[in-house]
Symmetry: none
């Protein structure tokens, strides 16, 4: 990957996140990346190719999102870290998270179930902890996480501290 190709990717990340896919022109990207417009097409064939590359790139970055949780063996800590997760997002990954969420809504991306690994970890944890319906409980936590995440990505979450504390008491953490 050459330096300019990377600059194109970085600029696309920024501009797609800000203005969406259709709201961003290849000319705009080239300007922002200080690169000739033609180069975008040499590297990505067309705009759609750039979009796909962007999403793949973002997914790669995000692939290790839950990794610290998945490595965890203690069931209680798995639950706690899961609940803390949307409140404590790795700053470096936030742009990629925003991009993926935005593009999933704008384009109708066939959304792979990104949450699956974490959900499985939660199911295991709740099974270990003796929950009566661990699968459903995992889903409940999933909803809490994704609901919180949505607010975070929109910069709308005002009561982060008190909310997280309450989440924890709910699960006796």
């Amino acid at each position: 990957m050459t330096a300019r190709k990377e600059r194109i990717l970085k600029s696309s990340l920024e501009l797609f996140t800000e203005n969406g896919f259709h709201g961003t022109s290849t000319y705009g990207i080239s300007q922002h990346a200080e690169v000739s417009e033609g180069l975008i097409f040499r590297h990505f064939r067309n705009k759609e190719g750039l979009g796909k590359a962007m999403v793949e790139y973002a997914n790669e970055q995000l692939s290790m999102l839950y990794e610290p949780i998945l490595r965890e063996v203690d069931a209680v800590i798995v639950v706690r870290k899961s609940l803390e997760f949307p409140f404590n997002l790795p700053q470096a990954l936030l742009p990629y998270l925003k991009l993926r969420t935005k593009l999933e809504w704008e384009l109708n991306l066939e959304n792979t179930d990104h949450f699956a690994p974490l959900r499985n970890a939660l199911i295991n944890a709740f099974t270990t902890l003796g929950y009566y319906q661990p699968v459903q409980e995992a889903r409940v936590v999933e909803m809490l996480i994704e609901g919180t995440l949505a607010e975070v990505l929109k910069d709308k979450l005002a009561d982060a501290d008190v909310l997280l504390a309450y989440f924890k008491t709910k699960y006796a953490l």
Copy 2:
């Protein structure tokens, strides 16, 4: 409101929901509405005006979304109806809900807190029911609802029945 203006609105609803704002052309709308393209601009000034009108129109339709719940006096029923809400959406309103959600993500609409009235109703309900932290509990239900809603709008919710049942047992309904 003339018949053709209404047809433009209906077509916009459909096409914006399907392909997003930037992904929909005014020509496409005029074709779909069987109307001259110029008429769109006579009625809405420009595409942005049409977008705003659409969002307002959708918001009007959606304003009565929670109304049956808000009228409810029995605290238990308020909670139950709230939890049932995303599983039991009024079919007529679903398109408007999809549109609003999609456009909120694509364009960066400063999103008014649509959930506020329902949240307040839930706070009251949980207060009545003697919950220790009714405000936070309302937020938890909000997350459950919005998380579920997001999956519904993306046609991703596979375990609706079992999930709703579990929600209810959680709140002893």
Copy 3:
């Protein structure tokens, strides 16, 4: 001539003078005249018709432009009044003069020789006054008048007083 037709004419005068023929839209005229756009076409058939009517209307108004000079019998006074003419324009006629000049340049109007009557009067005057080449002298005065007029219509004439005085001394007035 109905009141509204007259309002259309007045608005056209103003807007054509300000922004030219092509720079003025029939919609703009209808707004300015507080009249429905359709009415313009009922009265003038099409925009070109309105343009022609405007020019005719202006020409009618301007037909009496030189009239006070033409009535004059004293040769000296004819010359003096002629030279004073662009410095002392009838305010009511100024807009029509601006319009005609502007449209003559914008559209390539086959320009009737508006100046002819005054030129003839000047020829007579200079003949009476014993000028050696009265026709050419009339042409010189014509140039002085039209040159001055052009500056007046563009609001560019800064040295009006001193210039008129000099003109007069030249012709011993």
Copy 4:
């Protein structure tokens, strides 16, 4: 400046001069210049930009208009060449002169005082020649020139020879 950009400029000169700014479409220009329409906007940003570039371009061409006169040291010759000037226009510059005059009237260009250098030269000449009011005399010549020029640009000047001869006798040339 690429060849195509120059072709756009040349075509604009021709078409603007013929039909005015608003009367000329960018599509028409592109056809005439045998160039894609988009190229106009790549080079000039928008139609207004093209208009401004045209006027500047014309002004550049016209900047050397009076240059042969300004170089002249003999006062008599300055006056003679000045009077001859509108009768003896460099054919290559005529289109630019037409364009500038036309656009100054159609658009309301704040018209820089193009005549200033020549006027100053005339003032000097008349001073040298011992005229009592050289400034005003220069203004008189200016009016003669601009009046004649206007007729020339409109192809209205029928008595060129006799008129020029008379001008010369007036100034004893």
